[in-house]
Symmetry: none
Subunit: 290 residues, 2 copies
DNA sequence: CATTTCATGCAACAAATGTTTCATGGCCGA
DNA sequence: TCGGCCATGAAACATTTGTTGCATGAAATG
């Protein structure tokens, strides 16, 4: 049996939480959500704010293996101490093997991807957003790993333009949709090497139909970028690893949605509020009260 | 008397320092150098470590305009409070309108998200990957905007473990899958504020079943993180914009897949090659030559 | 239904906290 | 040299802190 991650007092708390009495759960959640206050303010003070008995804090600490609240707070304090420069960010050069080679891999990957994001050209995104804003209808296509990007874009755009945004192939074979593209509409295609035939076919159909074609790709030479009105480039291979990085594509998709929403002004805002109200009414989300 | 400009308690201290008695200077320097301990440990404790009298701390606080040590410490505590709003949020407002406001918005968003990535803790990802490696079966759940993350993870893991990875709800109502969780399996739940009921239900079912629960969330206080064996945190609100940022979640998902693949060794490599060969044979991809 | 267990709030407790007072000793100006 | 001034440490103070014993009531157990 794998040992649970007992590195941080918060993870101990998190693990033990579900098996605790109700009031202790409530207090535990409060501590997890306000751990900075937990280290700085007094127990009674916290109890007053959480609306619980001071004794509950002592009992919580004991329930997860500490001798008392003081000891728990000391652990939280140490975990939060700033000077500790993340014991693993010591830039392990031993990438080959070692106890922390996995950690080094993750760190390198994250740093590399972070470096790639600011290199994404912002201007084309703003222009593409303008095109989306003007489009009567928006189609989105992405296959294989790029499907996640396409679906995210679809989701966010539908939040404020529910009737005008559609995934290609959402309601039947792709081929049916390919014939439905019209001038004045916009088609977004997401893809990178190796390029799927399906995405190329969507791009070509869009181009032929006279619709505005927006390509989110890793290269200007990508087949689906041919004839595109807007090409949004990201660096898929910028990070070490085994799969191309989609971080850049996601960042582009979210920026695109954000700017398009911004262009939508009060109308978009109103529609977003309606959507949110509907979701709340359907009690999709957990209430925020803790 | 008139109070000095209250930019920061530490700067007040630094300014007033030279005109103070010798002992108070010594204590003041100690506070400036150990301000984290100053906010967390007791006055007497600090006095012992600094080799000074406890009263000196009270006198220092009064000397720079506070009513007592408690008030000084409260100011230091607030100054150190982790900012819930990113340092870029202030700048975003500066160019809300203008000729290139859209471009500026995109740039800010990208820079902010890039800054957030290296802050993702790498260690938990490596540990979670180890858990995935050991799992006999892997379930993945994510709803609404988080569905894109879940599907990406599902796609990449299936590249080298096709028969052991499954999206919750992929082949019927979620409820059917919830009863299928078993000890020795792993369940990954992706979610951030506002949390959907569906994701919380999956997390609870996983915990009850004895399966290893891995949560990818924006907060340790997230409901689906309760009882989780591994929690992978990202900053959803780190960037200016209208939707929570998924860039961090995507980066985590891809790192997780990469490390898991790495742990899989030659077996995983072989399976990936098989999958690629099959896709090539089906001519899914456009040939690389011309 | 009777009994036990347990979660929970209240109140009293001892310990620790920040503050104040007081005595001491060094320093500078008459 | 004397007298006032102030910095400084030690001890006493009132408050606040974390803890624990006890009573109550609800839920589980027989």
């Amino acid at each position: 049996m794998a040992e649970p991650a007992k590195s941080s007092p918060l993870s101990e708390l998190r693990i033990a939480l579900p098996s605790l009495p109700m009031r202790l759960q409530q207090v535990g959640r409060f501590v997890a959500a306000n751990d900075y206050d937990a280290t700085t303010r007094s127990m009674r003070d916290l109890a007053a704010e959480a609306g619980a008995d001071p004794a509950a804090f002592t009992r919580l600490a004991k329930a997860i293996g500490y001798s008392g609240w003081d000891e728990l707070r000391a652990a939280l304090t140490e975990a939060r101490r700033p000077s500790q420069t993340s014991p693993f960010s010591g830039r392990a050069k031993s990438h080959l093997h070692g106890p922390n080679s996995d950690v080094a891999l993750v760190t390198d990957k994250l740093v590399a991807e972070a470096a790639g994001l600011p290199r994404i050209p912002a201007q084309p995104i703003a222009e593409a957003a303008r095109a989306l804003h003007d489009a009567k209808r928006i189609w989105i296509a992405g296959y294989r790993s790029c499907r996640s990007v396409a679906e995210l874009l679809n989701y966010e755009l539908r939040l404020f333009r529910p009737e005008q945004v559609q995934l290609v192939g959402a309601s039947g074979p792709d081929d049916l949709d390919l014939g439905a593209f019209r001038p004045g509409e916009a088609v977004i295609v997401v893809g990178f090497l190796p390029y799927t035939h399906a995405s190329v076919r969507v791009a070509q159909a869009a181009h032929r139909s006279g619709a505005t074609l927006i390509a989110i790709a890793d290269s200007l030479a990508a087949p689906m970028a041919e004839g595109a009105d807007h090409v949004l480039l990201f660096e898929a291979a910028s990070s070490p690893g085994f799969f191309p990085s989609l971080t850049g594509a996601i960042a582009i998709a979210q920026s695109l949605a954000a700017v398009t929403f911004s262009l939508g002004g009060v109308v978009a805002k109103k529609r977003l509020e309606n959507t949110e109200a509907r979701l709340t009414a359907a009690s999709t989300y957990v209430s925020e009260k803790g």
